[in-house]
Amino acid sequence: MSERIDQLRAEFERDLAAVEAEAGATALRDRWVGRKSGVLTAEMKRLGGLAPEERRQVGQLLNELKTGIEAAIDRLSGEFAVRREAAQLAAERIDVTLPGRREVAGHLHPITLLRQRIEDIFVSMGYQIEDGPEIETEFYNFDALNIPANHPARSRQDTFYLSERLALRSQTSTVQIHAMQRREPPLRVIAPGRVFRRDTPDATHNPMFYQVEGLLVDRGITLGDLKGTIEEFVRRMFGPQTQIRFRPSYFPFVEPGAEIDYSCFKCGGSGCRVCKGSGWIEMGGSGMVHPNVLRGVGIDPEIFSGFAFGLGLDRLCALMYGLDDIRLLYENDIRFLAQFR
């Protein structure tokens, strides 16, 4: 009888080796251990005709064979399932190097980027951001700023007039006057905004540009406070290694006045193309608020003193981003605008 078992086992091994697809595994199971027509099922039924002793022996052998066959088929099916799943996933393969789905990012204007940075620094230093009109009277644009009656800046060559009395402001210093008229000292003001001068556009000029004006009025304010404030600003703006120097200069609304230079953010002061070899970059004008300006807005210069400073954003923009032609700033070419962050 055991020969019969060996024969069955060999036959199954042959069948098993011949299976090539998952369906074959199911057919194999039906053929060998299927409830109705399975080969082993038929063999089991035949056991009834054997003597009890032999039935027990053969039954055991058949059961062992059946367990082995079922395990082999399960193993085979499992392998097919794994292969099927793997093939399925392989078929779902995508090209992960294809671009992601998103909107093209828009960008802020470089002037806005710089203005916001500067505002953030000064707000953290206790300054209030203020705004003023772009169209001003001669009083705010010149008289209140102590600009002499015959000063060239007042001429129609230099300033855009809209009428006898009204002009496009030629400096954000006008906001100083509005701020001091509105509020009592102590005050700390930063005024960014557009200003206008009758310059024909070229690589370094536009008839419109942006300035940031600073003003601080309090008791006991000195040139040293101005220097310390500017130093703090440039170090936050350009890095802690930045140096500044003050040169005497003239602006009608300050006295004493100073031009501020800061050490080049590119080369650190050794001289490069950005700073034209000097190691220094001009930041802008500054000084102690002129007593005539203070008196004009009803502040007693013997009790209060203050400093003011101004810087040009367009030039700063050109230096920081390496612009060779500032006309690009107001052409709104998206190939230009998309470059800044």
Binding site: T222, K227, S249, Y250, P256, N332, D333
Partner: protein, 703 residues
């Protein structure tokens, strides 16, 4: 302005090299832009501030160097031999316009030989960019560069009547200047005339037929002072700027006039020969006013400390001011002084000016760095948080920020604006005649930017700008209202980077979505939208308001906030798009930013999360296309069904099998009660009411 290092050293023996001197002067307020080696000399190129005309000469700069280094100053020498004949015997000077000419002096030099200048003189002038003409003319230039006093030499025998009259030009008077140009003069201009005619434009340029020529034997040398304002105006009016006008319009010391004349006479005699008649004619009507202006200015050590943060020794301050030419009077307390500024320092008038002088000569590098004590918290401009939120939202949505000029082409502006001509502001002297009006809308600038981008090959363009527009003249002193606006423009691909949807183009609803999301970003209640196109531009419907003709009449909406119009949104009219050669749809919106920033925001309040599930019903209606989605949803809302919590559009279908002029609107209705799960019957009853309502109101059929 150029200064020769060697020439400077004739007056002050500086210990500094040309480069070190340039740095020293720069740090003292006389900015040197460049140092250039010329032969055995160095030329320093200055960029002087307008308050320091006293330094427009070698003598002026030498004075600064002497003060900075604490060393002596040697003035240019004069040496005139005694001559028996007096100037007054041969000529006369009459100043008829003392208000324009505070001082006029004349000297006569007889028997000069006009010829080329000696080589040293030619070289010196050329090093400073001046061309040599002849010996006498060169000497007048040389002395101007040396002392800062412009001079003019007349051929004495060309002066009719042998006299000088300083007067205003006559109406219609003309004169040919040395450059050969015939000049039309006006009575606002000052001329130097002889007995008959103008022979020079005072302080600006000499006349052609009274100048020095090879035949000149006797020279009348003019050294005078002129009022700066008149020189500036005349120079501008004639378009004629000269070395002389440059100096006079900034201010020349009236007390240096005679020294300069004597110095020039000394050089003329030495180089061109001749003799100088005795005693210059000196008409000085401005002398009294000049003397009256010489007031002692106080200087307190305490005030110095208060403004600079530095202490000062009053003796040191006195020494510095003295070196600069001030007459210093000591104060009684040893902690103050007073100083009379020299007449060449027109910029020194008050104590703060003296403080700057002492501080800059002592050196600004002595300044300490201190920080002012705290005085309260900083703050952004009102609304800045919202502006930043808007900028963030729009850049995230793919919009680049544009910045355009505040002045524009009026034709372009008018295309996008309903502002009346009388409400516009225009520049009197624009740089570009075509850009002469203040903008009344931001859309003109954005349209121009779209065109620019199109012309440079960019077809997918999204831009926004935040800025001011200028309308009317009702403000103080005739100022316009400056209105802050937000404008948005978009055209091209809807999803530029999406390779699976590359053909989709932006349309009205893309920009509307952006506008709607502004509310979310700012925490405002939702905008309303009202068609302002074909069905509403009738004046009876919108009295006093103009239909925005720049928009497509079927695709234009007014943006409402709290029921009030705050802007417009729509597709650019194809006619205008065509002008910019844009064939694709261009979407535009402009919103009054102040209305957004100033509107009150509903506070965020917590609502308990629902405890019972919602019942959702979708239903499609066949309805005429002229019925707006808004009116349907409003009609449903107005039923006030107790458990209907939301209704919204989820699909529109317009197939050919539908009746013409109709489409199918699919709506989602969401029902929920707070206290129980709703039954099917309850919801169906509500739906029936909706169906009936829409049938009655809009003839809508259930599909």
């Amino acid at each position: 302005m150029k200064i020769s290092y060697n020439w400077l050293r004739e007056m002050v023996e500086t210990r500094l090299t040309p480069r070190d001197l340039a740095t020293r002067l720069t740090m003292a307020g006389l900015a040197v832009d460049a140092v250039e080696a010329v032969g055995d000399d160095h030329v320093l190129e200055f960029d002087l501030t307008s308050n320091r005309p006293d330094c427009l000469s070698h003598l002026g700069v030498a004075r600064e160097v002497a003060a900075l280094e604490g060393i002596g100053l040697v003035r240019p020498s004069t040496n005139l031999a005694a001559v028996a004949t007096k100037t007054i015997e041969l000529t006369a000077v009459e100043v008829l316009s003392p208000e324009l000419c505070p001082r006029y002096t004349a000297r006569l030099i007889r028997g000069v030989r006009i010829g080329p200048s000696p080589e040293w003189l030619v070289r010196r002038l050329e090093a400073l960019g001046q061309r040599s003409v002849n010996n006498v003319a060169d000497i007048t230039n040389y002395v101007m560069l040396e002392t800062g006093q412009p001079l003019h030499a007349f051929d004495f025998h060309q002066l009719r009547g042998r006299r000088i009259v300083v007067r205003r030009a006559h109406v219609g008077e003309q004169m040919t200047t040395l450059d050969g140009e015939l000049r039309d003069l006006t009575p606002e201009m000052l001329v130097i005339a002889d007995a008959e005619r103008a022979v020079a434009i005072g302080g600006i340029k000499g006349g052609e037929d009274s100048g020095i020529s090879a035949e000149t034997v006797d020279v009348l040398l003019e050294a005078a002072s002129f009022v700066p304002g008149q020189i500036r105006q005349t120079s501008r009016a004639l378009g004629l700027a000269t070395e002389a006008s440059y100096r006079f319009e900034r201010g020349v010391d009236p007390l240096g006039v005679l020294d300069a004349a004597d110095r020039a006479c000394t050089l003329i005699v030495a180089i061109a020969g001749g003799e100088v008649l005795d005693v210059a004619i000196d008409v000085f009507p401005g002398e009294a006013a000049l003397r009256a202006a010489e007031n002692p200015i106080p200087f307190r050590a305490e005030r110095y400390r208060a403004l600079t943060g530095l202490s000062v020794d009053i003796g040191e301050a006195s020494r510095i001011l003295g070196m600069l030419g001030c007459r210093v009077l000591p104060g009684a307390d040893g902690e103050s002084l007073s100083a009379v500024a020299p007449t060449w320092r027109i910029d020194i008038r008050i104590e703060e000016d003296l403080i700057e002088e002492v501080a800059r000569i002592a050196g600004y590098d002595l300044l300490q760095t201190t920080l002012p004590g705290s005085a309260g918290a900083g703050a952004y401009l009102a609304g800045e948080e919202d502006r930043r939120a808007i900028r963030r939202l729009l850049t995230n949505a793919g919009y680049h920020e544009a910045v355009s000029f505040s002045f524009v082409n009026v034709g372009l502006d008018a295309l996008f604006s309903t502002v009346d001509e009388s409400q516009r502001m225009l520049l009197l002297d624009p740089i570009d005649e075509t850009q002469s009006h203040m903008r009344t809308t931001l859309l003109g600038g954005l349209f121009r930017a779209l065109e620019h981008n199109f012309n440079h090959g960019s077809r997918n363009v999204r831009l926004f700008e935040i800025g001011k527009c200028f309308i009317g003249h009702e403000g103080e002193d005739g100022r316009p209202r400056e209105v802050e606006r937000l404008a948005i423009a978009a055209t091209g691909a809807r999803h530029e980077l999406d390779w699976q949807n590359s053909s989709a183009r932006l349309d009205f609803f893309d920009l509307k979505g952006v506008v709607e999301s502004l509310n979310e970003a700012l925490g405002l209640p939702p905008f309303g939208f009202r068609s302002i196109g074909v069905d509403s531009h009738h004046p009876a419907l919108y009295p006093g308001r103009l239909y925005p003709g720049w928009l497509h009449p079927g695709r234009a909406a007014e943006i409402l906030l709290g029921g009030r119009p705050v802007g417009q949104l729509g597709q650019l009219h194809p006619h205008i798009a065509g002008q910019g050669r844009m064939k694709q749809a261009v979407l535009l919106a402009e919103i009054d930013l102040a209305a957004l920033l100033n509107s009150t925001r509903p506070e965020s309040r917590y609502h308990p999360l629902p405890k019972f599930p919602a019942v959702v019903r979708d239903q499609a209606f066949l309805i005429e296309t002229s019925v707006s989605c808004d009116s349907i949803i409003s009609a449903v809302r107005d039923l006030n069904l107790p458990n209907l919590v939301d209704v919204r559009l989820f699909d529109i279908y317009a197939g050919r099998e539908l009746p013409a002029g109709s489409h199918s609107l699919a709506l989602t209705f969401i029902y929920r009660a707070d206290d129980r799960t709703l039954t099917d019957e309850e919801v169906s009853a509500a739906q029936e009411r909706i169906v009936a309502c829409l049938r009655n109101a809009f003839n809508a059929e259930l599909r």
